[in-house]
Every structure is written in C-alpha cells, then in structure tokens.
Amino acid sequence: MREIPDAIVCEGCDAVFRRVPLRSREVSRCPRCGTELERQQRSDGARLLPLTVACLILFVIANCFPIVAIELQGLTSRTTLVGAVIALSSEGMSPVALLVLATTIFFPLLQLCILVYLLVPMSYERRPAGFSVLVNALQALQPWGMVEVFLLGILVAIVKLSSLAQVIAGPALWAFIALTVLLTAVLSFNPHSFWHMAFKPKETPT
C-alpha cells in the first residue's frame, strides 16, 4: 500500500486527477460530474478559533434565556430551547424531543467543542490526542447540526402566533440570529482541511 500524494479522487464519480496548487479562495471542480474536489480555505486556524469561541458564548446565551414570550389577556408564557424539549418529552413525544435536542443543542455544541479542542493545539503546530477520531466525528456530525433551520422554525412560529397573542422577542432570539451567522462562517470550514493542515508541513520542506 503506497500513498500517491499528488493525486485527488473525486468523491462524486471516482475520477482521478492530478492535484493542482490552488490560490486563495479558489475551488477546483470535477469536470465530469461537477463535484467540488478541493477548496483553498481563506480562514485557517488563526481566524477560525476566535469565531468558534464567540459561537460558544452565543450558544450559552441562546440556551439560557427565553427565546420568545407570548402575552394573552394578562397571562404570559415563555420558553427556552430546553423548555421546548422538556415540554415535548412530557407529552410522550420523547423521540421528537430527543431529535430536537440532538440537532439543535447536542450536535452543534459537540462540533464547537471539537473545533476548539483541535484548533488550540494546532495553532502551536501540534496534533492533539485523538486527532483522527475527532476530525472524523466532525465530518460525520456536519449534516446533523441544524441551528439555522431551527431559527427559521422560531420565526415561522412567531408569525403563526402573532395573530392570536402578543409576541415578545426574548434575548435568546437575537443570540440565535447572531449564532446562525457565525456558525455558518465557522462550519463552512471543511474538516478535510484539518488533514491538509496536519500533514502538509512534512510534504513541503522547500
């Protein structure tokens, strides 16, 4: 078994190509099927780490404060994300509650924590313990974190209720909006790049 360092295999159609060095922000695509082969990331670890930490802070705010409150004839009712999950599970909807918990809290939080854990030692050119397991986990988690879909869900729910009751936006709503923007920036970083970051220095001694 021998590694071919300058070859690249298209994930979409198995075609083999020679790896061409890309300039900043360039993308190479497979000419046969159009799948993205490689992307030169503009943001490497240095820029990504502060964004990830900011995401974690926003994540805490978004989960500690109520998202929205409604007022109906002097009576108010509000909810946090965890409150919604608890409400679902208390109604015998535990599988749905678990799905919401996983896609909006657990998976995104795990992604952020793994990123911080990987990025801190890598800024000192060191590879942390469990590197390959965690990069694999990061790639596997990518389709399942759904904070942006949840934000749209909140907005739809607000519109739905606005004709029935007075809806007051809570601090967590703004945190969720900011979190969605930052998270999109952070997660657009392809975990594939970790492999290049970790294995590049050896290949280019010149």
Binding site: M1, R2, E3, I4, D6, A7, I8, V9, E11, G12, C13, D14, A15, V16, F17, R18, V20, E26, V27, S28, R29, P31, R32, C33, T35, L37, R39, I67, I70, L75, S77, L81, A84, A87, L88, M93, P95, V96, A97, L99, V100, T103, T104, S132, V135, N136, P143, M146, V149, F150, L152, G153, V156, A157, V159, K160, L161, A165, H192, W195
Partner: protein
C-alpha cells in the same frame, strides 16, 4: 447518455487506486477493507451495501410519509375548543389568513421537499442499480442538490417544538405535539440517512448491457493498470479553477 467529452476520464477503480472518503488520501495497491494509513478509516472502493441500505431507508421513509401527512402534527386547546392540525391544514390556514409567502415556505419545506427527495432518491438508486448511463451529469447534480436541501424539511418539527414549549397558558390556550410530527421527523431523518448511504459514484459505474457491445462509455473496459507504471503520470488536471466570491 454521457457526452463523448467525459469518456477520457479515468477512474480510481480502473487505476487500482482507492481514495479515503474521510481524509481524501489516495492509496495504490490497497485492498478493500484495509485501513487508511493516514486516518485509520477502512478503505472502500464503493460504500458497502450502498444500494441495499438506501432502499431500506427509502422504503421505511415512504411508509412513514403517509402517517406524517395524515395524522395531526399539532393539537391546539383553547377556549373555543380543541383543534387538530395536519401539515397541510397548517399550510391552508396560512394561505386563507393571507400569509401567502409563509404558506408557500411551509408547503415547499414540509410537503414538496420530502416528496421530491423520496422520488429523486428512488430514481437515483434504481438507475444506479441498473448501471444505467442515462443523464449521468444531471443525476450527479440532483444528488448534490438533495444533500443540500434535505435538512430544511426539519422546519416543521422545530415549529411544533417551539409552539408546544411556548403556548402553555392553562385553560386559555395550550398547544401540544401530535403523533404526526414523530412520523414526520422520522421521514426527514430516514431520507437524510438514505441520501448519506447512497454512493454517488455508482451513478458513473456504467454496466454494459448484454444486447450491446461494450462501447467507449463502459467503465469496465480498462480495469488493469500496467505494473510499474507511475500511477499519477499523465493524469488530467481538474477543470475550471475559478475563484469563489
């Protein structure tokens, strides 16, 4: 029908190479099931049992699609009585009350996208199983689109979750989740699993039909690479390295 321009492309399988699907290292002379020397993931020429797994997820999703749309997803108890909403009745409610944009959004995300995903995946899996060379380029594009839009179907699950958590003013108004939302969530998860287990490379593995001589499109014409030949020598470069804004 694949256009003649694409026949010059050589696949990793033909060259005896395996690309690791996790870290994208390319290995020569690796056996199916061996571990990648860089990241330790098992190497596969194609995703194992891709077609069978995809069918299993698809059939389960198709079965659950019925209760997801017929059973109530949300139960509203107010002073005026109890109201049960299905996904489509929620869309109709928004449409009648004049929120056309929102009605269209929910209709697309909750009804059309899962239906489109199911039928598109059936088409992709069926044609990949037959080894068909029908519209390969479009099929590849369709698969990439499915991967991008699948997650947005979760919208309705989150709407119900927020409403059930928020509206609990006892006696006046209470919203709780209906059984339909569990079925609906399962459909979304199952179709996502189906598209993840489908191997897009199968779209390009064309099997020559028995009635036809193996043409230049056949993927099995040059299976062997001469030993000792530098494996990456003469590889074509990728097309159009365009910068992205």
């Amino acid at each position: 029908m694949s256009s003649p321009a694409f026949t010059a492309v050589e696949t990793a399988t033909q060259r005896g190479l395996i690309g690791c699907h996790r870290c994208s290292a390319v290995w020569e002379g690796a056996a199916h099931g061996q571990r990648c020397g860089r990241c330790g993931t098992r190497l596969h020429v194609r995703k194992p049992d891709s077609i069978r797994r995809t069918w299993a997820y698809l059939i389960s999703a198709a079965i659950l699609y019925l209760p997801a749309n017929l059973l109530p997803v949300m139960i509203t108890r107010s002073l005026l009585g109890t109201q049960q909403d299905t996904i489509l009745s929620g869309v109709i409610y928004f449409w009648v009350s004049g929120a056309y944009g929102l009605a269209a959004l929910i209709f697309v995300a909750s009804f059309l996208v899962p239906l489109f995903k199911l039928s598109a995946l059936v088409l992709l899996t069926w044609s990949a199983q037959r080894g068909s060379d029908w519209r390969q380029h479009e099929r590849a594009g369709l698969y990439r689109m499915l991967e991008a839009i699948g997650r947005w179907s979760m919208l309705d699950v989150f709407v119900v979750a927020v409403l059930a958590g928020l509206v609990r003013i006892h006696g006046f108004a209470e919203i709780s989740a209906g059984v339909g939302i569990a079925a609906f969530g399962s459909v979304v998860v199952l179709t996502m699993l189906a598209s993840l287990s489908f191997d897009p490379r199968l779209t390009w593995d064309v099997r020559p039909r028995r009635t036809r001589a193996a043409g230049p499109n056949s993927a099995r014409t040059t299976m062997t690479t001469p030993a000792g030949m530098p494996a990456t020598g003469g590889l074509p470069g990728p097309e159009g390295t365009g910068s992205k804004a």
